[in-house]
Symmetry: C2
Subunit: 335 residues, 2 copies
Amino acid sequence: MTTAQRPTLEAVARRAGVSRATVSRVVNGSTTVAEPIQEAVRRAVAELGYVPNLAARSLVTQRTDSVALVMPEEATRVFSDDQVFPGIIRGAAQELEAADKQLVLMLAGSAAGHERVERYTTGRHVDGVLFASLHGADPLPGTLARLGIPVVCAGRPLDGARVPYVDVDNVGGVTRAVRHLIENGRRRIASIAGPQDMIAGIERLTGYRETVTAAGLAELVAYGDFTRESGAAAMHQLLTAHPDLDAVFAASDLMAHAALRTLREAGRRVPDDVAVIGFDDIETAAYTEPPLTTVRWEIVELGREMTRQLLRLAAGEAIEESVILPTELVVRESA
Amino acid sequence: MTTAQRPTLEAVARRAGVSRATVSRVVNGSTTVAEPIQEAVRRAVAELGYVPNLAARSLVTQRTDSVALVMPEEATRVFSDDQVFPGIIRGAAQELEAADKQLVLMLAGSAAGHERVERYTTGRHVDGVLFASLHGADPLPGTLARLGIPVVCAGRPLDGARVPYVDVDNVGGVTRAVRHLIENGRRRIASIAGPQDMIAGIERLTGYRETVTAAGLAELVAYGDFTRESGAAAMHQLLTAHPDLDAVFAASDLMAHAALRTLREAGRRVPDDVAVIGFDDIETAAYTEPPLTTVRWEIVELGREMTRQLLRLAAGEAIEESVILPTELVVRESA
DNA sequence: TTGTAAGCGTTATCAT
DNA sequence: ATGATAACGCTTACAA
């Protein structure tokens, strides 16, 4: 079975009885073409089923009309039931669709993957790069920015590079959460912190520390990596080190979920004995036992906003160095 | 700030003192180049930081080295905490990375989105197309296949098109689940079925029907769309219509999760009064109250297998029309 | 307003 | 084994 040759501009031009240039103008929406000719060209395009060859176009325009979305690949987090990454993917996809650009997804977890991402993006195979999550002080965003390649990150880059980013108001959200606990009479408030090589982990811990300290309370901290497994381990640690705790703020809903179960297994009632608050408001949060009080933020909106900023940057517009999205405390039954 | 021009083959050739053709050979790993010359070329490549222009290459090779992964866009399912789609994305990304191809993600939910996907894929902007989920009798996979464009679907296409697909053994998995219920003495076994315009919804219902009928038991069915919300509604219906039910098989873990909560609210104990089994084994399943017995399958593996098949197809190899992945009953506490 | 023609950066076909 | 050279399909000055 031979595959039918796809028609080229040339073929359409012949059919419509005009030059390639004219067809190109019509296809690209130039207004300087006489109406009847436009009509004829459009008919020829339809009859032949012509679709522009993107590679050829890209070769001459120097644009690729595609942007890369780079994600870390750690199995535990990216594609567990954490909704953060899927949400960002969705937001980016929506916004790019509206801009008629392609979304190229790249996993950068392994060293090989990271190198591949670096080659691909520095090679200008995309018009811009979105980083969905940064671990440690990855220099890649800064490198790309210096090369003049449009970049936007989710969260402030830890290496101090001046790369535009979009983030949520982590500190504000945590502050509200911890205050809520204090206002409800809790005094021994612990925190299951996130990984300290990620900006979200750092900021959420900072918010907790500042708030409990300002209230004259002790800092009771254990560390996790945002996953349920790590949350369970951290909760055990806290229970052992501070058996008298009466509240826990977890830096992710996943860790909060695990804390809920660990507390139950330890015979503590939530919220009677121990109040629990999470962060993210993933869908599961409304279905935990008891339903989880948490700090909500719009995941999909983060993806959309990042993409909007990137498109502006790629269009040569100036953008703010950072955009901070709001958070909101959703009070359910766990606190 | 002017962007540095990226070096071309020409530049590398000049630097290494050879022709463009030779550089091309070295870059593409041809063995017919003398070792010292290869050496010189490689040095020039490194010094200049040369990266091939994919558009130019694609233009002449007629390959794009990228494949599209098409997903439906319904907000409720694709990016809720259902891990199915993220899992497929991950599997595809891993496999494509190994093959050095790009993953282009496309959402096909809206009519406009669907049309866009059609234009893009039929326009041969990708070497192949992966469909992550089909709703109703979407003719697109069949259309692409007829155009000679490599296509692989997740699940058998409902329009009867002869398109290769990879799926899990839905019927087998459900059969084992329902038998487990029967063996444990359950006799009033209901099912919360999935959407009947999706092959997974249809097959899981078929498996349930056949098994209860073979055991001489009644069919008690309510319908959902795989989401928690729909699961809760379906559970309510079942409780009203069949207050004496003693077991529920839900076609997705999300619906099973909602059923668990609905049953508790209705004062039924799980598994004492009512046993519950789900399908998918998402991470949350191990954390529900009580932990959910469910039918497990390897989501990421589905994505990988689909991609492997597609790559074979794109390489001109013949492949089986379908690959069925195994399922396994994971017994926890809910049944 | 329309057409001509010169690239864009590769790969591939021939010679050599 | 290496080098010219002709495509690949499109956009875009520049002419007409």
